[in-house]
Amino acid sequence: MVLFIAKFLLHVYSFVFLMFGKDFFVGRYRRLGWEFREATPKQAIRVNFMNVRGFDVVGRLKGLGVELEEIPFLHGGYWVVRSEFSVGATVEYLLGYYSVQEAAAQIPATLFTDLKGKTVLDACAAPGGKTVQMADLMDNTGIIVALDVSRRRLEALANHLERCRVKNTIVYQLDARRVSKLGVRFDRILLDVPCSGNFATDKDWFKRRTLRDVESNARLQRRILAEAAKVLKEDGEIVYATCSLEPEENELNIDWAVRNLGLEAVEIDCYGEEAPTEVFGMKLDDSVRNCRRIWPGETQGFFVAKLIKRR
């Protein structure tokens, strides 16, 4: 009852102080240094190199009339400039030669130092785009432990793994907050955590989201981060990613991890701009600047960070 009343009061509070709506969020983005503009992310594909040895799948797609343009900041990533048909329904797609994967979402898996032969955790894996990408980068060596909580999402993940001929992955229906139950320690951990999303991929985003949702997601993300830190090997790496633009789910969570989990954010070389170290008057740890914030444009909005154990 007390919890219910507290939730109700918080709800009322967020409405009274208008902590929702387009103006509220756009104002926050302005304070972070970005002027709002509408964005429609381009469709993108990623070649699964493990399945296309000996032939040019891009050439084959071009032969079918699909106009592709290499994404300058990704290896094997292409914008779909024009296609008379869905690139998610070609024989080449069905044979696992490529995946349809938004460009910014292709970045996190590329940030690990090395993946081949490693024991890797994909903590929030479904529907599996990044799992398949990691398996490709690993050339099907080592092990990926992929988790998700929803049975329906696991079916989608399994379908994706089968289509793309992934051989090195084991999937569990398990909440990422309980991964230590497996008793496995990992060299590499991908935390593509559940998040609030962003307006570029959800036209009703501003109508649906309040600061309360954002804060609730941020709390869940911190719990996942804490559990991941427990199962990370001493010389391991965590890549943390969200498709949220809200600093509570991004810079503030990384700052929290640095201060509370014995982790540090290390430099990454990828598309995006340096993350701010001062957010809404709060001074964050200097290493937060090593994270990358991607504002919506050609891609959707995104945030990535790479964490290691502080030595």
């Binding site: 929803s150 379908n159 090195n168």
Partner: protein
Amino acid sequence: MKILAKTEAINNFAKRFGAELDLDERFVAKRGNRYFLLNQELRELAETCGNWFYAGTYLGKVKGGEFHPSFPLLFMIAEKAKNKVTVDDKSAWLFVCGRDLFKEGILKIEGSKGKGDYTLVFNRHGECLGCGRIVKDLEKLKGGLAVKNLLDIGDFLRRERRTET
């Protein structure tokens, strides 16, 4: 984890296409009615943390007493199968959309041509698109329905629609 004592269902299925598979039974695991091929590392993990949902290479499942292959298994069989038909582009696309094959679209027949036999279906790039059952003796057949579609890679799209997240 239950490691299969025998991989009979899988091997018998492969034999329908004239293929002999040499799956190492120590690495074939059964989860419910589904079969998976594991490597050494996955096998060790699957034994320690047994409550997994999917692992390694999915091979197929037994349902209603019948073995239903996965596509990775079909691709394994394709490397060793004798029974194959190669079809033209139009027929290949229709087959992937779930349609049966007509004699007119078949470019090449290898192995069995007999009614009731199983055959893999390839496109002109040599890629396996699925499998079917020969409905009329292909030697004598001049035209019309030739191979009934049993399974095609378009199934991935049908599954995607069912599991859209």
